[in-house]
């Protein structure tokens, strides 16, 4: 198994603050905007961004988790069912601008399911997608991110591994892994 470092800790910090600046540019005071992290792995990045944003604009921004497991299109089509995680959206998303946050954008199917899952909580005015790693050439659906940490050319057989301190790792690091 070969591992290649895509983003190290310092670069990741810079990328997170750049993404936050872009968000502030578009959402200004965040008066109508909410941040929703995708379960299970996107929530750590979402938390990082959310904290950074609140520090920058000095006001609270509604923050939640969304789990799309029950809305996936591959149910009964894979060996094992995917484990479901908690949904926590303690605010109304009707009429709000939603920024969906996930760590890696690959085929786009999770985001398709997430949009479905989100509609069950209300009709947002606008939905944007922020991802840390955008895997180019792997999309199976017409889905594109609005904010990207880094775009990487990957093959279908490769995997992107995100290690964040919030997940219990020593340092924030993102790897590209070649499966043997």
């Amino acid at each position: 198994m070969q591992k290649k470092l895509i983003l190290d800790s310092d670069l990741l910090d810079i990328t997170v603050s750049r993404l936050c600046q872009q968000l502030i540019e578009n959402h200004n005071t965040f008066s109508d905007t909410v941040i929703i992290g995708m379960q299970p792995r996107g929530i750590f990045l979402a938390e990082l961004i959310h904290k950074n944003l609140e520090k920058n604009i000095k006001r609270t921004i509604p923050f939640g988790y969304l789990d799309a497991t029950f809305h996936r299109d591959d149910f009964r089509r894979r060996e094992e069912p995917i484990k479901a995680y908690e949904n926590r959206i303690p605010f109304i998303i009707e009429g709000k601008k939603v920024v969906l946050v996930d760590d890696v954008l690959f085929t786009g199917r999770t985001i398709r399911a997430a949009m479905d899952a989100m509609i069950a909580f209300g009709r947002p005015a606008k939905v944007e997608l922020l991802v840390m790693i955008n895997r180019k050439y792997n999309r199976e659906l017409p889905i594109a991110p609005d904010y990207v940490g880094k775009t990487v050319n990957t093959m279908h057989s490769q995997r992107v591994l995100v290690e964040l301190q919030a997940q219990g790792h020593k340092q924030n690091k993102i790897w590209l892994i070649n499966k043997d």
């Binding site: 009964r76 094992e80 479901a84 908690e86 069950a120």
Partner: protein
């Protein structure tokens, strides 16, 4: 682990503790779903489920049907009283005819113990046993245990007394298996004629005095006297049963400790449970009903996933 060890849910005896915990974790997610304004997810949209009820039911059938609909499954209902079973069709023929119409899962209640087991040997669709005679009623036991877990945080080490007609109760047997697998201490209590002779061999305590049972337990799961299954008289009269075994509000208040009252329904008010006890703060009977839908959604979801 995110997969059940079994293809069917025939009884709690056949599944593992890991299975039960997986069902509970999944049910936690579904409980959140059914408390949303939009109580529906599309997971089972390409699955057809037949609810085949050879015996009467209100709660279980409604609960299964709601669970199926909230998972977006297609549902067909069948009840023996209005069907060709009355014309002499066998169980296997009836079910095979239903399956020939491309049904993926079967939820079945039958008056004979082992009916679901028998069916599982002959058909390929997933089967959920919704009660077979006096044998097992797995989803009821799961929702009872889920409700206890919700109330106390965990089941391990808790003392649960099952009080009433143990002899004719499939709920009792499934509950004993489920609670023991989850590490609870279980006691059964009832008149000697309504306790199976060798029930002690299942590792449960046996108590004849309902007051002592209530004093001992954290949770009392009170069962109905199943008159429809009793061919002979097991006690002199319902009045006498309620005097000796009926649970009243006063008995619960006199305990000076928080004892939780559960009942799988339907309640015969004034027989096994007085109205003021059933409606008291001790009771979590309506929580059980709510949890029933979430637990059944979890069971159907996990079984349907295994079929893929």
């Amino acid at each position: 682990m995110s997969k059940l060890s079994q293809k069917h849910l025939l009884g709690i005896k056949d599944i593992t503790r890991d299975d039960i915990e997986l069902i509970f974790e999944t049910a936690d997610n579904f409980k959140e779903v059914i408390n949303r304004p939009i109580k529906k997810v599309p997971s089972l949209r390409d699955v057809t489920i037949a609810n085949i009820f050879f015996e009467n039911s209100t709660r279980t059938r409604l609960s299964f049907e709601l669970a199926e609909k909230r998972l977006s499954a297609d549902v067909v209902n069948f009840s023996a009283s209005t069907s060709s079973v009355k014309k002499g069709e066998t169980l296997l023929d009836t079910v095979n005819n239903i399956l020939a119409m491309k049904v993926d899962m079967v939820v079945m209640r039958h008056a004979s113990a082992g009916a679901a087991h028998y069916l599982s040997k002959h058909i390929t669709a997933n089967i959920v046993n919704a009660g077979d005679g006096t044998h097992e009623h797995p989803t009821q036991a799961l929702l009872d245990a889920f409700s206890i877990r919700e109330k106390f945080g965990s089941i391990s080490g808790k003392k649960i007394a099952i009080i009433g007609d143990i002899l004719h109760s499939r709920v009792a047997l499934s509950n004993i298996f489920a609670l023991q697998k989850l590490g609870a201490k279980v006691m059964v209590c009832g008149p000697p004629t309504l306790l199976p002779k060798f029930i002690g061999q299942l590792g449960v305590q046996v108590e004849l005095d309902v007051k002592k049972a209530l004093q001992w337990c954290d949770v009392a799961n009170v069962l109905r006297i199943q008159l429809e299954r009793q061919q002979i008289k097991y006690f002199p009269s319902l009045r006498e049963y309620s005097i000796y075994y009926g649970i009243t509000r006063k008995m619960l208040d006199d305990l000076m400790k928080p004892t939780v009252i559960m009942h799988p329904g339907p309640i015969n008010r004034g027989v096994e449970l007085s109205s003021d006890a059933a409606d008291s703060k001790h009771s979590i009977i309506l929580e059980q009903v709510e949890n029933g839908v979430a637990v059944r959604m979890a069971v159907l979801y996990l079984l349907a996933a295994a079929a893929g």
